[in-house]
């Protein structure tokens, strides 16, 4: 079937406008990251007066970027691993058992997703302070508190997406595994997980993105020693004399791995959303 003329014109116009809207900031980020300092201190220019990779060298010295990087990496990796493991088991329970409290759990998990972060930021902060006081477990100013918080942030989406994936796997496979002598855990690890691997990877990417980008809780629950990238870069960009070329270089550096991973897996992501939406 051929597209009509009107449709073709609409497509060209829409793609051009949206394309520019999306691409101009990306272009500004990339070209600014390779400008010498003099270029970003005067009026904006579309192209560097000379291309330099000095910002990528200098940025490590201007702020403790390496430390931010390390902290973000620790927090995001721990949160991702924990979140994915917990979500796999919860999604397995929801997909394969009809147990009491199943609907209640689903409702609570999905609805918490929608409430303002500030609502539980305050109480959580106070709870963490009091846990420290009563049990001596320090959660404010250590990676632990952020790991616990972030892994919970990505749980709802991960459980929703993975249970959608598991629902798409015929229960006949479970039966066959049972006949072959697999218990519930054997079935999960030998049958469901290998089939749902794209879903698991997509969920992991999502969990990592969530933890890597979070600003609000990180700004309250970290101190100078365990600052994460989000808070560190925000401070960096609001200083009185900003080295924009270095800020853009740092932004580029923290973005590229995540963007590449997400785009490489966008197919599984869309498939996961569709399986969730169909239900």
């Amino acid at each position: 079937m051929r597209d009509t003329r009107g449709m073709k014109i609409l497509r060209v116009v829409a793609l051009t406008v949206l394309g520019l809207f999306v691409a101009i900031p990306l272009y500004a980020m990339v070209t600014t990251a390779i400008k010498p300092l003099a270029d970003v201190q005067s009026s904006f220019s579309w192209w560097p007066s000379r291309i330099t990779f000095q910002p990528f060298v200098d940025m490590w010295k201007t702020v403790p970027l390496a430390s931010y990087f390390k902290n973000s990496l620790i927090v995001a990796s721990c949160a991702t691993v924990a979140s994915v493991v917990i979500a796999i088991f919860a999604a397995y329970a929801i997909s394969r058992w009809r147990f009491r409290g199943r609907e209640g759990f689903r409702t609570v998990v999905l609805s918490t997703q929608m409430f303002p972060g500030v609502l539980f930021l305050l109480p959580l902060f106070i709870i963490f302070v009091n846990i420290d006081r009563m049990f001596g477990i320090t959660l404010v100013g250590t990676p632990g508190g952020l790991v616990l918080t972030y892994l919970t942030f990505s749980l709802p989406f991960s459980i929703w997406m993975l249970s959608g994936y598991f629902d798409g796997i015929p229960t006949e496979l479970d039966q066959a595994a049972k006949v072959d002598g697999c218990g519930p855990m054997g079935t999960l690890f030998r049958v469901l997980l290998p089939t749902a691997r794209p879903g698991v990877v997509a969920v992991a990417i999502y969990a990592f993105m969530t933890a890597w980008s979070e600003v609000l809780f990180a700004s309250v629950m970290t101190t100078q020693d365990n600052r994460t990238l989000s808070v560190g870069l925000r401070q960096y960009s609001t200083m009185t004399n900003v080295y924009w070329n270095q800020v853009m270089a740092a932004s580029l550096l923290v973005s590229v791995p995540i963007v590449v991973a997400f785009l490489a897996l966008q197919k599984s992501f869309v498939a996961g959303l569709t399986s969730g939406a169909v239900k």
Partner: protein, 313 residues
């Protein structure tokens, strides 16, 4: 009682009944500790006079009853006026951002529905703002909106000559406009992603049948695409509205410590009320009020948009 026991003996629980409870327990405990308990605690704190003097031991904070709520909602005082102003601002922000983000997402998903050369490339480009760490995107916009060294003024003033003076974009009334543009940039790919996923579940032969019947592209979109996407739109609009209404990150990163009044969204306002003055009782009262308003709005929305055949079921 004995009858119950007999029933229990007659119908023993199936083997392994406890398995789902055990494997769901970690998720349930985490939800409880990070979401449910803090929410309940928030309600309790909103009834206390919890200031910096009691933060280490909040059981010593004096009970305040509804005083915090009265302070937060009394619009004849500066505090109440601030809350009302931020609430109205967030409402306007939500309407602008969700409308634009949904429209952009819908247009992009529609024009990319059918295969053509380069389609995958466009789709990939459009998803980049979503994949980008939120602060990296917003910091880039912050740079672009700088008065003297930014791209926006360079184009508007130096290249197109549309404005004589270089306007400020991050302070004053323009800040609201900047906030909306940045939020649309960040949020529309999510609408696009969801709508694209929704469009994939519409079978192609429906369109073919309509085309044979002589339906134009517009009619096909109006009569097939839109109704078939209704379930996706119902959830998408609700989720996006709640996220945008609660948005904290965009003003927090975009304005830094500048905090223009025209960008003082409600989450940002509550954060400042709580963590700058350390009056957690008042901040919690604002949060709880906000939660109740959002809850009521969501329930009304879900009822009003529920498919008719289910409404009486």
């Amino acid at each position: 009682m004995s009858a119950q026991r007999i029933t229990a003996q007659r119908r023993p629980r199936p083997r392994g009944w406890w398995v789902p409870y055990v494997i769901i327990a970690p998720a349930a405990i985490m939800e409880l500790v990070i979401h449910v308990i803090p929410m309940v605690t928030g309600f309790v704190i909103s009834l206390l006079n919890l200031t910096r003097y009691h933060i280490r031991d909040w059981s010593s904070a004096p009970f305040a009853g509804l005083a915090n709520f009265i302070t937060a909602l009394n619009i004849s005082t500066p505090i109440g006026q601030g809350v009302l102003h931020s609430f109205g601002l967030s409402l306007a922000y939500t309407v602008c951002v969700v409308t634009l983000a949904w429209t952009f997402g819908m247009v992009a998903a529609t024009v990319l529905q059918r295969p053509f050369r380069g389609r995958a490339l466009w789709r990939t480009l459009f998803l980049v703002p979503y994949a980008l760490p939120m602060y990296a995107g917003v910091i880039t916009w912050n740079f672009m909106l700088q008065r003297d060294s930014g791209l926006v003024n360079h184009v508007l003033v130096d290249q197109l000559g549309l404005m004589g003076d270089r306007p400020f974009w991050l302070i004053g009334d323009n800040a609201f406009l900047s906030l909306v543009i940045v939020a649309v940039w960040r949020n529309w790919p999510f609408a696009f992603l969801m709508l694209m996923a929704g469009l994939q579940s519409i079978p192609a032969d429906v369109y073919e049948a309509a085309a044979i019947d002589g339906a134009s592209s517009w009619q096909q979109w109006r009569r097939i695409t839109l109704p078939m996407l209704a379930p996706v739109n119902r959830v998408l609009l609700l989720v996006m509205s709640l996220w945008v209404f609660n948005d904290f990150n965009t003003p927090f990163v975009l304005f830094g410590d500048g905090q223009p009044a025209s960008g003082d969204l409600i989450s940002f306002h509550i954060y400042n009320a709580s963590f700058l003055t350390w009056d957690f009782g008042l901040g919690s009262a604002m949060s709880v009020t906000l939660l109740l308003v959002l809850l009521a709005a969501s329930l009304i929305y879900m009822r009003a948009t529920s498919p008719k055949e289910n409404r009486h079921a």
